[in-house]
């Protein structure tokens, strides 16, 4: 049985809820009071994850941390189609590259959000600037991708865990005072992610309308 140690307003926890929903994996939730309780720094939690970070996922006796690593684990283990984390070495490298970008988005866009909404002591201006730098690159990557007939961050013709990993804190950027107005291709990509069958919402991340059905 899978158990997710979860904070509902955490984008990193949401990544796992999102992928498990898409894959149809059932799981239990143990709520962790990240804010304001700082329960992720409590003794019992540090025994689970000495890094003191959410999310943590247990699958039987296995204890896993780091959202990107857990995404890869879930996809490898529970995705019979093999699409979400393909075995192709070059695609694996692409996905891991974007998992690293997802961490950069967490340290910028998410940090700005924590500073503005959760009283965290981060340099708001620096984190916002950092987020804009990443979003510019992503928008360019996605814009040229659309010209090439590529809808997702990585080269396969379907989404991968890279799209799940980068999605939440892009969507939540406005909570950190980071507008997405200058990134139209990035905004179109978020529509596509929100139309993946099995998509679930979290506070601040809402569904997209239905795509136009073409006969």
């Amino acid at each position: 049985m899978i158990t997710l140690y979860d904070f509902e307003l955490s984008g990193n926890c949401y990544k796992l809820r999102l992928l498990m929903s898409i894959l149809g994996v059932s799981y239990d939730i143990v709520p962790v009071d990240f804010f304001p309780g700082r329960e992720h720094k409590s003794d019992w939690f540090l025994c689970l994850n000495p890094f003191g970070q959410l999310p943590v996922l247990t699958d039987g006796d296995l204890v896993l941390s780091d959202s990107g690593a857990i995404l890869a684990y879930l996809a490898k283990k529970y995705d019979p189609t093999g699409q979400w984390f393909p075995d192709d070495p070059s695609v694996t490298a692409e996905i891991l590259r974007w998992h690293a970008v997802a961490d950069d988005i967490t340290s910028t866009s998410s940090a700005a959000r924590l500073a503005l909404g959760y009283d965290y002591n981060f340099d708001v201006e620096a984190t916002q600037k950092g987020a804009h730098r990443i979003f510019r690159i992503m928008d360019e990557h996605l814009w040229f991708g659309e010209r090439d007939g590529r809808d997702w961050l990585c080269s396969p013709a379907h989404p991968t865990t890279a799209d799940i990993a980068c999605f939440p804190y892009v969507m939540l950027s406005e909570e950190g005072g980071i507008s997405r107005q200058d990134y139209p291709a990035l905004r179109r990509w978020t529509d596509r992610v929100r139309r993946i069958p099995g998509f679930v919402v979290m506070s601040g991340i809402f569904p997209a309308g239905k795509a136009l059905e073409t006969a």
Binding site: F144, Q181, K210
Partner: protein, 568 residues
């Protein structure tokens, strides 16, 4: 020259590629934020990026193809008109027609979408626009003053071939014409149009993207060293509270609108379809279930439901029944009105509002009664809400608007030639036992309405869950009584003699009172009752409304006693 909020010039605000179907693009021009979306009919809408309700951004709304729905509170706005078509949980379930979001002029041309802060100037193509095919380059947002951006673009020209300044913010450096979109006083978007179709378009697109990236970095470094001008301060005008909270259910008859009979066709045995097109631009927003008054060449006025789906405002389609016993209204339309004729119609009015918060919506139509329910089904269909449509026709009577019904995704059932008892039994089956948040809408012959109302009541459906609209009052009006009406707000007392209606008495006394059908069916002349007992003779109010004795239709109903006090 400093940027101005009222600058009437047209600027590109998006690329055509930025507007795929079912997406809402977030744009900005001269400080004003824009929600830009393409409807399923291809029309591009450029609106103020704020929902009139609470000012939530519409760019995070849902583009449903014909309507844009606000993500937070579900207010809906129609393609083309930006008219609000729905306010959830509203007491009347339907907004007044005149709640409209702010729109900006729009033109799609040369691979770009153009708009202006106001409609003072007509759209004019840039010099040489027609001479070439254009491909739009990747737009480049820059955090720098628009005039600095234009000047920097001009400086890209080689010395021996200076840039051509087509206007203050348009620079031609062949083969590319550069447009600077003034987003705000310190922000701009560079949009380039490349003339001709290059052999390797992607290489060209990448080349200019790299060039613009370098230019942007330079411009932003320079801008950071300069004092920043203050941002433009557009005013976001919110809709007034009275409009947003308590619209009238019956909007008094206003001016008429001329329409052209674009198409007239036989939709079924004895049912003619008419497509009435706007002569210029689009027709007003309407809600599902709404009807128009059609002014006929013989001076009569008749009500017909609009069958259109959401956001279809270029023409209204109505269905007209050819009746052998017709008193002349529909007969004139069927026999004398031809394609190309001009008719006058009223603005749409809605006495048959559709709720969109039901857990189960049942639409029951009989014969020509399909028309308002077709519109409702189309709205529910587009919103992806579940519904079932049951269409009863007599033997030999064909199904009208069949092709329109067949493309719907909901449950659509045809019941043909059932005898009366079998119809009643079928209706009882369809309705089932009432449970919370179920709603039934019925339109058809009076006998069918009575069957549905009686069946629903027997199965514990409350009056509020049974919705119907009469176009015709078949009852025989008893106007033999005489009584006085006191008009409380007008401070006058009138005598209503036998043979005359309250409405006629009020008009004779010089009051201007709205009315439409004048047979107790449409609700236009509805008026509040303060004192006295009403002799209801209309078919508009339902039983509980009649028992409440708080409203009267002044065109047919009368006083039971010798005195009535009306709130007028």
């Amino acid at each position: 020259m400093p940027l101005s909020l009222t600058d009437p010039h047209w600027y590109p605000i998006a690329s055509s590629d930025d507007l795929p179907f079912r997406h809402v693009y977030q744009g900005q021009l001269l400080g004003r934020e824009l929600a830009v979306w393409r409807a399923d009919d291809g029309n591009v809408n450029v609106w103020e990026n704020r929902c009139l309700h609470r000012g939530v951004r519409l760019s995070i709304g849902i583009n449903e193809g014909q309507e844009l729905k606000c993500q937070y509170h579900g207010w809906r706005y129609a393609n083309r008109s930006a008219g609000c078509t729905y306010i959830p949980a509203h007491p009347a379930d339907a907004p007044a027609r005149r709640i409209e979001n702010r729109k900006y002029p729009v033109r799609e041309a040369f691979g770009l979408v153009w708009s202006a802060a106001n409609a003072e100037l007509p759209f004019a193509p840039f010099p040489g626009a027609e001479a070439a095919d254009w491909i739009a380059l990747r737009p480049m947002p820059v955090n720098a003053a628009p005039e600095d951006v234009a000047a920097a673009l001009a400086r890209l020209a080689p010395d021996d071939q200076p840039a051509e300044m087509l206007s203050e913010l348009v620079v031609r450096l062949a083969p590319v014409t550069w447009f600077v979109q003034p987003v705000d006083s310190t922000r701009a978007v560079i949009r380039g149009l490349h003339a001709g179709r290059p052999e390797a378009p992607l290489t060209v697109l990448r080349h200019y993207n790299e060039m613009l990236t370098r230019l942007r970095d330079r411009l932003e470094r320079a801008a950071a060293r300069k004092p920043q001008p203050a941002p433009l301060q557009p005013v976001f005008e919110q809709v007034s509270v009275d409009l947003a909270t308590m619209p009238d259910i019956a909007v008094p008859r206003g001016n008429t609108i001329p329409v052209v009979v674009k198409r007239k066709w036989q939709s079924a045995d004895a049912i003619m379809g008419f497509e009435l097109a706007a002569r210029d631009g689009h027709l007003p927003t309407f809600q599902p279930g709404a009807h128009i008054d059609v002014h006929l060449p013989n001076g009569m006025t008749r009500q017909y439901s609009i069958t259109n789906g959401p956001g279809e405002l270029l023409s209204y389609v109505i269905g007209v029944k050819q009746e052998s016993t017709s008193t002349g209204g529909s007969q004139v339309l069927v026999e004398r009105v031809r394609e190309g004729d001009v008719l006058a119609i009223s603005e749409p009015r809605n006495n048959f509002p559709l709720r969109r918060d039901a857990t189960r919506t049942v639409l029951i139509a009989g014969g020509i009664g399909i028309t308002p329910l077709l519109s409702m089904a189309r709205f529910l269909d587009k919103s992806g809400l579940p519904y079932e449509l049951h269409y009863f026709t007599r033997l030999g009577e064909q199904v009208a608007f069949r092709s329109e019904l067949e493309v719907l995704h909901g449950r659509v059932e045809f019941h043909t030639g059932l005898p009366r008892e079998a119809s009643s039994a079928r209706i009882a089956e369809i309705l089932g036992e009432y449970s919370f948040a179920q709603h039934v809408y019925v339109c058809g012959p009076a006998s069918m309405l009575e069957t549905v109302r009686a069946t629903a009541a027997a199965r514990n459906w409350p009056d509020e869950a049974v919705h119907f609209e009469y176009f015709k009052n078949d009852k025989i009006i008893d106007n033999s009584t005489a009584f006085d009406v006191e008009l409380a707000r007008s401070a006058m007392t009138l005598h209503v003699p036998a043979g005359k209606t309250i409405l006629e008495a009020m008009r004779q006394a010089g009051l201007s009172v709205p009315s439409s059908c004048e047979q107790g069916a449409c609700g236009t002349c509805l008026c509040g009752v303060i004192e006295g007992e009403v002799d209801h003779q209309d078919v508009y109010l339902n039983e509980s409304e009649k028992r409440a004795n708080t409203a009267i239709l002044t065109c047919v109903s009368r006083a039971k006693g010798d005195r009535l006090v009306l709130d007028i």
